[in-house]
Amino acid sequence: MIIKVKQEWLLLTAFVVLALPPMQQFLEQSMVTHMLVQIPVLAIIGWMLGKKLPENWKSKITLWNRWGITGMVLAVIIMTYWMLPRALDAAISEWHFELVKFVTVPIMGIALSLSWPLLHPIAQGVLKLEFWATFMRLGWLYLDLPDRLCANYLLGDQRILGQLLLLGGSAWAVAWTLRVMFGTRIVKT
């Protein structure tokens, strides 16, 4: 019980640290840290928070979220929104969009953690493949595009992000291949 409380406090602390203006500015000064550190960490905080929700809340939510479908739709919509270049720019220049980001991204994490385990294995497979394809597509796009997508970020930044996305996507693909062919489990998912 004591450990449980502690972990929730940790999550809250992580969230507050991310929201502190110096941290926020530090992570948002580069497209790479904004998209590959800040937003994923916010989502992970949500994910872990979702695991910590009281059981009776979970079962109430499940009534509205059979097979995890509702939650996945919500998560996909929030994800799509924050993939819009102008949404990212808006979060930097306008505080209320920033607030929306700090609320919706953790909600996305919660929705994912509540819905993913309920999802049919085939749906899980399709979504995983789609996430992976998004990594590769965006990575390729960012590398190839001659123009900046975000008015607040440099072209060089966009290129680095593209490389990292492709690299991450490739690592993921290798991990999958190993698992499918040899049953080696490098990561848990």
Partner: protein, 208 residues
Amino acid sequence: MRTFLATVFIAITGSLILWVSTDRGRAFTVEEARRLDVRENPRFVPEWHLQNQDLETVTIQDWRGSFLIVDFIYTSCPSVCLILSGGLKSLQKDFSSELEKNNLRLLSISFDPEKDTPQRLKEHLSHFSANFKYWIAARPVSSSQKEAILDFFKVIVIPDEYGGYTHSAGYHVIDPQGRLVAIFGVEQLNELKEYLTQVVNKENDHQS
């Protein structure tokens, strides 16, 4: 059933939000959004004070009655400003008769007023063989004016890794009534020329 209802509700609301926040699927980036916005909502340009290359104070409204093409530059720019100013040079050549008839003016505004002294602005213009009568370079007189100008045009300027700047680049068209009516990207010089030919002719017909 509840799941179905909740899913439908979230899917519809979510799609609507995405639809609205991309201006009905037409603008995915800030740059696209600002171009679309001025096309649909032309707005009057306030009377800011600018200092031109001859140390005179001017305002954008001084050119009422002519179309005015504005670009944003800093004179030590190694890349995109050179293309922009090259574009203005090409306009100066192609639209020389309109310039003579006072139907068109060109204005380069510097967003680096500390470094871009009138002397440097003059050098910049000379570099592009600008005719000072038709093509003016100017800098904001104070940093608050600079912010107001950049804010109005929604031009975002960020420092780059070489001590210079990266910035939203484009040709901003102000009509004879003093309204910002269109923005063309650096790559849209030909579209800008077509547009100008059309609107200037229309204006001429209107007057005659």
